[in-house]
Symmetry: C2
DNA sequence: CCGAAATCGGAGTTGACTCTCAAAATCTAG
DNA sequence: CTAGATTTTGAGAGTCAACTCCGATTTCGG
């Protein structure tokens, strides 16, 4: 009796069981179906029923896996944040704020993502205001995290305006570089494109202060 | 007969008539009711019926004035764009890109808006992903416009990467300065806060290039 | 084979947005 | 000022899709 004492607890489900594996497969099927359809006909023009049909599930099952339509695309973008912060803090003190951010973004983001998937997701996000909104909230979270990390690296207050502004500028540079790379058809290396963006920024800094 | 030949044409309605004035009044009533309600209980929690009731109109009348719920807030943000571009281009050649943008934004935006209204609208926008998405699209439009203006000022190609990046950095600096000012309770002068933001940016440029 | 968990299927809710038609309100001419 | 044309509004029904709920059924694990 009292099955909950003999059964698995929510926090520690078996990762290898048939059940868990099937759930993973279903989850992936839904994600894949959704991204495909979003790419084909756009986010707003795709209904839950469409996704369910292609993923071979009942419409109501969709919501067992994702709390809302938007969450299929925006799954845990904040997962990488702690690693990013650590990478920023661990940069040698000789790095300027912009160099630290550039290096941290290169190793924690550019090197860690699946470019193909990222490109498709980015395009889908750009196709709908709702998703753009969620994405800009995510970007805001990154900015706060980066700003904090920069401040800690120098032993400054979390709200230090220079750190805040450095994070703003670096992340918008980064974002634009990525977006430009995608808009230009993903030619060449993403890492190189990001580097080019930061180089352009530094060249502008020279112009502006001379 | 054939009244359309004797009546006003669509392109040139009388601006002073009773009719036109009442329409303007109704439009304002809707806008005011909407912004009030959005501020009170949030964008998503406000229905068209709520707005209609407070504005004393029928729900269906709402859509005769605004094509969608979002448009009550996001009315013609692009109206000021041509003036902004002209202001950028007309800046003396001795101005750097960042100085030109700073000055143009100060005179065409900071000096031209109603701060109270802008603050309320900004807060409402931040309260909903849909609106944030639309707003970031508007911001993107500004960026393109600013970038073009910068390029023309120097006789460069519209797609020049330095101009593009300068616009990116300047506008995100500007946006953050405004947001910070609002988050801090609108203490002091908005123009001064914007100037402080740009000063911080330039100080960072010095740090990064030394 | 038995109990737990996941799924199905379908009905139900909500709110944005559309459409229509008849009832005001407003304009212009005489 | 009045009559007739026109525009605007009100009221209500109707669509569509996200999201919720629930009872019945299937699938899985021991």
């Amino acid at each position: 009796m009292i099955p909950s004492e003999r059964m698995f607890h929510k926090g520690a489900p078996p990762t290898g069981g048939h059940r868990a594996r099937k759930k993973e497969r279903t989850r992936h099927a839904i994600e894949d179906a959704a991204i495909e359809l979003f790419s084909e006909r756009g986010y707003d023009a795709t209904t839950i029923d469409d996704i369910a049909e292609r993923a071979q599930i009942a419409p109501s099952t969709f919501f067992r896996y994702f709390p809302s339509k938007a969450d299929v695309i925006l799954g845990d973008q904040n997962e990488r944040l702690p690693a990013l912060q650590r990478a920023i803090i661990d940069r040698p003190a000789s790095d300027s704020a912009i160099d630290a951010l550039r290096a941290a973004l290169q190793e924690q983001w550019v090197a860690a993502i699946d470019p193909d998937r990222t490109v498709r997701i980015t395009q889908v996000i750009a196709s709908s205001p709702v998703l753009s909104g969620h994405a800009s909230a995510v970007g805001h979270g990154w900015q706060i995290a980066a700003s904090q990390a920069l401040a800690r690296r120098k032993g400054l207050d979390d709200a230090d305006q220079k750190c805040w502004m450095a994070a703003t500028v670096a992340l918008s540079t980064f974002g634009e570089a990525v977006k430009t790379w995608i808009d230009d058809g993903c030619e060449g290396d993403l890492a190189a494109a990001v580097d080019r963006g930061f180089d352009t920024l530094l060249a502008l800094c020279v112009e502006w202060t001379s």
